[in-house]
């Protein structure tokens, strides 16, 4: 039986606990998959960093450092038959809900510790969407296109393709 939170058509589905021990493994997994999908090394690093930052934010702010709460990561290749790489990653949790428009990094001119994770995610991914999940928790959808996919495509959030 498929867990209701895990997307049935995802190519990779992982459920993990909100324990920081596992963030490094998830980062390495996503890096390796992105590489296999044809992303350049720099982009692989960026995609992995975005996942790492998203998990850190859920553990720190969403679950307030409780280490036994669920997090679900689903991953799809985009256009898997077209020979041009793209990746979609959805990370979901059952943490407290907040208004998506309130999820923003701090002003970068204001140099102080913390508040950088959301900024980094939006900077390195092409599309970034935060949503409330039905039944509780949040959903983060992140997409990274290959440069070949960037011409004229819609940008929901994030920095767009060529930034």
């Amino acid at each position: 039986m498929t867990h209701p939170t895990l997307k049935p058509d995802a190519h990779i589905r992982v459920e993990l606990l909100s324990n920081p021990t596992y963030t490094s493994g998830m980062k390495d997994l996503v890096h390796a998959v992105a590489k296999r999908l044809g992303f350049a090394e720099l982009d692989c690093g960026h995609i992995a960093l975005a996942v790492d930052e998203a998990l850190c934010n859920i553990m720190t702010h969403g679950y307030e450092q409780r280490m036994d709460q669920p997090i679900w990561l689903s991953l799809w290749p985009l256009d898997p038959d077209g020979g041009k790489p793209g990746i979609k990653i959805v990370i979901e949790d059952r943490a407290k809900q907040i208004e998506p428009e309130k999820i923003r990094g701090r002003e970068l001119q204001d140099v102080k510790p913390g508040g950088l994770g959301v900024h980094v995610i939006r900077e390195v991914m092409d599309e970034v969407v935060y949503e409330k999940r039905d039944g509780g928790g949040m959903r983060l959808t992140m997409i990274k296109h290959s440069p070949a996919h960037c011409a004229g495509g819609p940008v929901v959030g994030g920095k767009g393709c060529h930034g």
Binding site: P20, T21, L42, E53, C56, K112, V120
Partner: protein, 116 residues
């Protein structure tokens, strides 16, 4: 070492400087350990603290936040904090966070120690 932490940190005095040399990844789990060593460096009252990042292959924003906190302590204490030896991947996160111009950065540990 706590579960999940892979960071090792070297700590030594070289002349007027204290050199903190982390080795490994500085992520969510390791940032706390890193902070402890940086605090120790500040407690030494050395006029110059060099963080040699040559053996750090990955850092995320909790690690960066630890260094920002350290920079604030340096400014309060009127000491000098220099980051040295960052690889391209680690430097990239400082650029993304627009902190590459906020920190004093040297290409190598030797350069950091030789800085006037």
């Amino acid at each position: 070492m706590a579960e999940g932490q892979t960071l090792q940190v070297g700590f030594e005095t070289q002349g007027q400087a204290v050199v903190v040399s982390p080795q490994g990844e500085i992520g969510y789990s390791e940032a706390t350990v890193f902070r402890t060593w940086l605090r120790k460096a500040h407690d030494s009252k050395s006029p110059r603290i060099v963080v040699d990042l040559a053996k750090v292959d990955y850092m995320n924003t909790p690690g960066v936040a630890t260094l920002v906190e350290s920079l604030q302590i340096s400014k309060r204490n009127k000491t000098r904090l220099i980051l040295a030896g960052m690889n391209e991947k680690v430097f990239a996160i400082f650029k993304i966070a627009r902190l590459d111009t906020v920190f004093e950065i040297a290409p190598t540990l030797a350069d950091a120690l030789a800085k006037q």
